[in-house]
């Protein structure tokens, strides 16, 4: 792999040298080549983004451009053949580079070559009038037309299977947001990554570059350069969108334009550096500042270059963009073991390593790297890159992930390899359970009761000729290009004696630089890098966080979000005596959704009271968690001391549990699986019977225009059960309209005789057949509800259970709860007490509403933000749903209730279940029941 990189880089550097010689003299071309090695854009592309095809493509394009120039200039067929062979390789390496390269690189080179042709015919090198230039173009028209057609032919032919596939199976992916399309002023991080870093020190040379490029023979290149610079600014101005059109703007990533512009600038950077160290600029600097300051100037520029290089190369250390390297062997062994490869898997938190894992296993994943190639509607209709990093795509990404986790059987998805505990609560509450932690630290999650992939999967038949083309042409182009450019050239020059033919000499005459060196350019070169540095880092070093109480609060939450606890602690008033060790200790024992699984989305502050030295601020923070969005309000008290505002530390729970050492008698379960160690199928004797369930009642209801199915289900067996409840809605003709599983609104694990309410909320796209649904309008909401077209609906419920042995924690209890009235709304308030030995990381309250006959009417669920440690409490408050908001559409009768595949009515055998036995709370002639579901983030087992 390293050798491939070295070859590609070597080809690129050589390409820069040859390309530079079109525009500048040999010495400048050499300087440009040296600069290319440390060019910020190249370093970023290699060390941060790792884009091998891009570098390979641009390398070959530079060579091809040079050969094109020579062909037009000297009109020698060999150069045409050479250029076309290199274009073919460019297409094979990176087709987008060829498409845009023709416009931005080759077109100006062709026009410049034609200008040079006009100049060479005359004794003096001076620019011809327009008429002569146009006549030159006219003379060359057939050859140019042939050249254009040849390149287009190569572009189509070499990549023909790709174009054919794109045409017959068009891309339906909705645009995926990308930082290069942001406004770099509003989104500073995008500006740094996609503008400041790739330009680097060259940004300070832009006035010089525009001056050089927009004059003389460089004019056409200058126009191209200017266009690229503008397009590379992304959404900072409306110009790129106007130029590209909405569609192209939303599909393309615009950082490529900055990349190409900075490549285009390299020859002139080389020219400037020669002038700076030994030419006009050197003389000017020496004259204006003296020799000593001149040397100081050189030292500073060198320091800038070195600092820039070190920073970019090590950017991944300062701000890791990828997780640490994962050893994939334990994962591939797991997949190979016991036929686990017969199901699909998904990875979470793997970064780009998901591709490496996929390449090393035959097992199939539902996720992938190449966004344009995917066909799954749940992905193509959402603006997310990959499922595996959905947390970075906010509610959009998590919403898409949730659909896969809720109905995994649709894609035969059974295993998830998680490298990020952020997703743990989502996996648990969507009905997944932990299987084991592999030797590499990856946690394996499993969904019970998912069928394996069918033995034969649908396969697109690619015609044989296309398969041959795809396998043979790209490499053949490379081999042919090597033969032509190395061996044939050698034969021509050495053996055929062409080395004295001036048309084959690579020296290109250049026009002298007419413009005078400007001292302003030097000042900009000195000043702009530190200004850029200050702008980029002002939020770190120059933020003056404590100059205002609201700013203090905002920077405090920012520090908390990024886990910069030292900084967060520095905002506390020392008067309160909270030292850093105590603070960190308090943080470490505070767990829960907001402490451990949330990302800060936004924060607003409001001054409630303020005088000269004290302030009371209401901070409203909005958090994105894997389960839901949170809005949290906190009141902060601040004091001003020595012109800085300090926060009063928030109170920490100082209650002490009564017991130092707790013992908890419990029942634990273990499922043997295959008792004989064998690769054979699981024998009948080792299959545990499905636990029996009973659906007490269920109905289809409507609330706020959304249709849901609610009901109550009980585990009537003596085995603990993992349950999956599916509701199927049918129209008046008995056709299935939609089908979905219960997600958060149910306890997925029930102990013997345990009851739970359940709610199934239907989401869009879950059961649309492939190819029959077009992705709809981008919906930024996490929950994408399914809208029913008719009201005459019936429903079937399918409940199935498998024996469960893990992740069952029932030691959370509800304390002192009652219905209270708050701001004209009724709420149920109380607290959760943990009498077990594990911390309940994220408790969930399931609130079931019944009529006076104990028939279920509605089910709510509510996640509590705070964790509950053993023998401690956490408060909760949940607003009640008033019954008039809920309308019953259809009561589901026993014939439409299926348990473990059988109609419930057939196996009940006259068994009846007593209603209304349980702990109910009365409220307005209705009954309410609360159940607690617990997620233990770090169980003692793992």
């Amino acid at each position: 792999m390293i050798s491939v990189w070295l070859l590609v880089l070597g080809n690129f550097i050589f390409g820069v040298f040859r390309f530079s010689k079109i525009w500048v003299d040999d010495k400048s071309a050499l300087a440009a080549t040296m600069f290319a090695v440390v060019s910020p854009t190249i370093m970023e592309t290699i060390h941060v983004f790792g884009q091998l095809p891009t570098i390979a493509g641009i390398g070959f394009l530079l060579h091809a451009s040079t050969e094109t120039y020579k062909w037009i200039k000297h009109d020698k067929t060999f150069y045409l053949i050479s250029a076309l062979s290199l274009f073919a390789v460019t297409v094979a390496a990176h087709h987008v580079t060829t498409i845009f390269g023709m416009v931005f690189f080759v077109a100006p080179v062709v026009l410049t070559a034609l200008m040079d042709r006009c100049g060479i015919e005359k004794v003096e090198l001076k620019y011809n009038p327009v008429k002569t230039f146009i006549s030159e173009i006219w003379k060359f028209r057939f050859k140019l037309a042939f050249f254009g057609c040849a390149v287009i032919f190569l572009l189509i032919f070499v990549m023909f299977p790709y174009w054919y596939w794109s045409k017959t199976d068009p891309i339906t992916q909705v645009p995926i947001p990308h930082g290069s399309r942001d406004s770099f002023i509003n989104v500073k991080s995008s500006g740094i990554v996609f503008f400041i870093i790739p330009w680097g020190i060259v940004l300070s040379l832009l006035p010089y570059l525009f001056g050089r490029l927009l004059s003389g023979k460089n004019f056409f290149m200058g126009m191209s350069f200017s266009l690229l610079v503008i397009l590379g600014t992304g959404g900072t101005t409306p110009i790129p969108k106007m130029l590209l059109g909405e569609n192209a703007f939303n599909i393309l990533t615009l950082d490529r334009f900055t990349f190409w512009a900075s490549i285009m600038a390299i020859p002139f950077v080389g020219q400037f550096s020669v002038s700076l160290f030994s030419g006009d600029y050197s003389e000017l600097l020496s004259k204006r500042t003296g020799r000593i300051l001149q040397k100081v100037f050189f030292i500073l520029i060198t320091i800038y270059l070195i600092a820039q290089t070190i920073f970019i190369v090590n950017l991944n250390q300062f701000r890791p963009l990828q997780p640490a390297q994962i050893d994939i062997d334990p994962i591939t062994r797991f997949l190979e073991r016991d036929e686990h490869y017969k199901w699909r898997f998904l990875t979470l938190g793997f970064g780009d390593q998901v591709a490496w894992l996929s390449a090393n296993t035959n097992a199939k994943s539902i996720d992938g790297n190449y966004h344009s190639a995917r066909r799954v509607p749940e992905l193509t209709s959402r603006a997310i890159e990959r499922l595996e990093n959905s947390k970075f795509n906010g509610v959009e990404g998590l919403g898409s992930l949730q659909q896969f986790l809720t109905v995994p059987e649709k894609y035969h998805l059974k295993y998830i390899f998680s490298n990020d505990k952020f997703y743990d609560p989502l996996l648990h509450y969507a009905g997944w359970h932990r299987v084991q932690r592999l030797e590499n630290g990856i946690m394996v999650w499993e969904k019970q009761d998912v069928k394996g992939l069918p033995p034969r999967l649908p396969q697109k038949i690619i015609p044989l000729y296309q398969r041959i083309m795809w396998g043979v042409l790209p490499l053949s182009c490379l081999i042919i290009a090597i033969i032509i450019n190395l061996y044939l050239r050698l034969w021509l020059f050495r053996i055929k004696g062409k080395e004295n033919d001036p048309s084959y000499i690579s020296t290109i005459p250049h026009a002298k630089i007419k413009s005078k060196p400007s001292f302003i350019h030097l000042i900009l070169l000195l000043m702009i890098p530190p200004i850029m540095f200050v702008w980029a880092t002002k939020d770190i070093f120059f933020k003056q966080a404590q100059s205002h109480p609201e700013k203090t609060v905002m920077w405090y939450y920012d520090a908390l979000d990024l886990k910069r606890f030292n900084e967060a602690h520095s905002y506390f008033d020392p008067e309160y005596g909270l030292d850093f060790d105590q603070y960190i200790l308090e943080i470490s024992v505070s767990d829960g959704m907001l402490s451990s699984y949330a990302k800060l989305n936004s924060i607003t502050t409001e001054i409630l009271e303020q005088n000269e030295n004290a302030a009371k601020i209401l901070a409203t923070t909005r958090w994105v968690t894997p389960l839901q969005k949170y809005e949290h309000k906190d009141i902060h008290l601040l004091k001003k001391k020595n012109n800085k505002w300090y926060l009063r530390p928030q109170e920490f729970d100082i209650s002490i549990p009564p017991d130092q050492f707790i013992s908890q008698p419990t029942v634990r379960y273990f499922k043997q699986g295959k008792r004989r160690v064998s690769t054979d199928k699981t024998p009948h004797d080792d299959v545990v019977d499905r636990p029996e369930l009973f659906i007490h009642h269920a109905r289809v209801v409507k609330k706020d225009s959304l249709i849901s199915v609610v009901g109550e289900i009980q585990n009537t067996d003596n085995l603990p059960a993992h349950i999956t409840i599916t509701a199927e809605i049918l129209d008046s003709l008995g056709r299935v309209v939609t089908r979905y599983n219960a997600k958060f609104g149910v306890q997925h694990k029930l102990l013997p005789k345990e009851k739970t309410g359940f709610k199934i909320e239907f989401e869009e796209l879950a059961w649309r057949e492939d190819g029959k649904h077009k992705p709809g309008i981008l919906n930024p909401k996490e929950f994408n509800p399914f809208f029913f077209e008719e009201e005459k609906l019936t429903c079937r419920i399918f409940a199935k259970a498998v024996a469960e042995n893990t992740d069952i924690y029932k030691y959370g209890n509800l304390q002192n709860y009652s219905v209270v009235k708050k701001e004209n709304k009724f709420c149920v308030e109380g607290s959760i007490v943990n009498t077990g030995v594990d911390e309940i990381t994220i408790p969930e309250l399931i609130v079931s509403y019944y009529d006076k006959d104990c028939n279920i009417e509605w089910v709510d669920y509510h996640f509590i933000a705070q964790a509950v440690r053993p023998q401690r409490e956490a408060p909760f408050s949940h607003p009640l749903t008033e019954s008039y908001h809920v309308q019953t559409i259809y009561k589901i009768n026993d014939d439409n209730l299926y348990v473990n595949g059988l109609q419930q009515a057939t196996f009940l055998k006259g068994r009846s279940m007593e209603p209304c036995v349980g702990n109910y709370m009365e409220h307005k002639n209705k009954k309410i029941k609360l159940d607690l579901n617990s997620f233990v983030g770090i169980p003692s087992l793992y």
């Binding site: 100082i654 029932k810 030691y811 509800l814 007490v833």
Partner: protein
């Protein structure tokens, strides 16, 4: 053109045992070169040329029990056909057996079925009517033996749950064939009733400790303890608030640790398991907090409350929440909650942005309210 040979017949036995070699003799010595013999079974047809008057069939053709059809062909002409019955041998080896459901309830006399398919060495089910011995050891350690005849290629026996919980072990034997040991769990049925153990009364309402509440043994109608891990929910409520605790049964008993309240309480305790609920028990708590002081430090604008102690003259538990009300004329009452530490509560009134006028402070804890008037300067 192939002429039909005259009067060529197949002579052989009508019945053979599986795996036995079959001797076939033709009625004439005139063996035509186009003569073919075709064997047809369920697995397919096999065609062989006839080379002599006596034909010994390969034993692979006679392994599978059932009908073996033999046809003698001369080109397109069917000369003769015979049907042989291949009989299975005696049962041998491992008997394929299944049992299910694998758990049955004692209270509803639920059935389970043991199915066995004894077979010979060629995997042929033994002859219809062959007797197999179905043996059981029941949870009460009694042994049973049932002789079951082979019917329609299987033997099956339905047995019913008895009254005692435990494992029923089963095995099958037929001739020289034996099955693996099978088992069925006979489990307790639904709980019949729940009773609570007597509860202590007049406990100290310190908001810290836990009191154990447990059930007596929960059994089904046959006296079997409900299965370990059965959930039991406890409701501990007064007229205003409810407490809901859950636990699981171990040896039929479920217990919880209920946290003491901080105020006087009289609770009603009920337990639920399955579809039954227990008797109701009362549980009372008494709060005894000694009188405490409220001091005001005018210089630092600091309220110091305490020391607050309980019956044992011990500090109230750290973290006990005191509700402090601050009232000033023509201003909305401010209510804050402050935790006690080492029996003391401190409140910084500077943070409340109060006016400089008389102020009423009320401190409420464990049902006790103490008032004090101060003057903010």
């Amino acid at each position: 053109m192939i002429l039909k040979p005259d009067n060529l017949k197949i002579i052989c036995k009508n019945e053979i045992q599986a795996g036995e070699s079959l001797e076939i003799e033709l009625s004439s010595n005139k063996i035509h070169e186009d003569l073919l013999i075709v064997y047809t079974q369920m697995s397919g047809s096999y065609v062989f040329p006839v080379e002599s008057k006596k034909i010994i069939t390969d034993t692979f053709l006679t392994r599978k029990s059932g009908k073996l059809n033999i046809r003698l062909l001369a080109g397109p002409h069917l000369l003769d056909t015979q049907e042989i019955n291949i009989l299975p041998n005696m049962g041998t080896g491992k008997i394929e057996s299944y049992i299910g459901p694998k758990s049955i309830l004692t209270t509803t006399n639920e059935p389970s079925m043991l199915v066995a398919i004894p077979a010979d060495e060629f995997d042929n089910p033994v002859t219809e009517g062959t007797i197999s011995d179905f043996s059981y050891i029941r949870p009460n350690y009694s042994k049973e033996l049932h002789q079951i005849r082979m019917e329609k290629l299987t033997n099956h026996h339905t047995f019913f749950a008895q009254t005692k919980t435990g494992k029923t072990l089963a095995g099958v034997q037929c001739d020289n064939g034996f099955s693996d040991e099978k088992y069925v769990d006979e489990e307790a049925g639904w709980p019949l009733q729940i009773s609570l153990e007597t509860l202590p009364q007049d406990l100290q309402a310190d908001g810290k400790h836990y009191v154990e509440i447990k059930t007596k043994k929960i059994t089904d109608k046959l006296g079997n303890n409900v299965k370990d891990g059965t959930i039991v929910t406890f409701s501990i409520s007064d007229k205003k608030q409810i407490n809901q605790y859950s636990s699981v049964t171990i040896n039929g008993v479920a217990k919880i640790d209920f946290k003491y309240p901080t105020v006087n309480k009289k609770y009603e305790v009920i337990a639920f398991c399955g579809n039954v609920k227990s008797n109701s028990m009362s549980l009372t708590f008494i709060s005894e907090i000694n009188d405490f002081d409220i001091k005001y430090d005018q210089v630092n604008m600091n309220l110091v409350i305490g020391p607050v102690t309980g019956t044992l003259n011990q500090f109230v538990p750290d973290g006990s929440e005191f509700k402090i009300g601050v009232s000033q004329a023509s201003k909305k009452k401010i209510e804050i909650t402050s935790p006690a530490q080492d029996g003391m509560i401190e409140v910084d009134l500077k943070e409340l942005f109060l006016d400089k006028k008389p102020t009423i402070i009320s401190v409420k804890y464990a049902g006790k309210t103490t008032l004090r008037q101060i003057f903010i300067k």
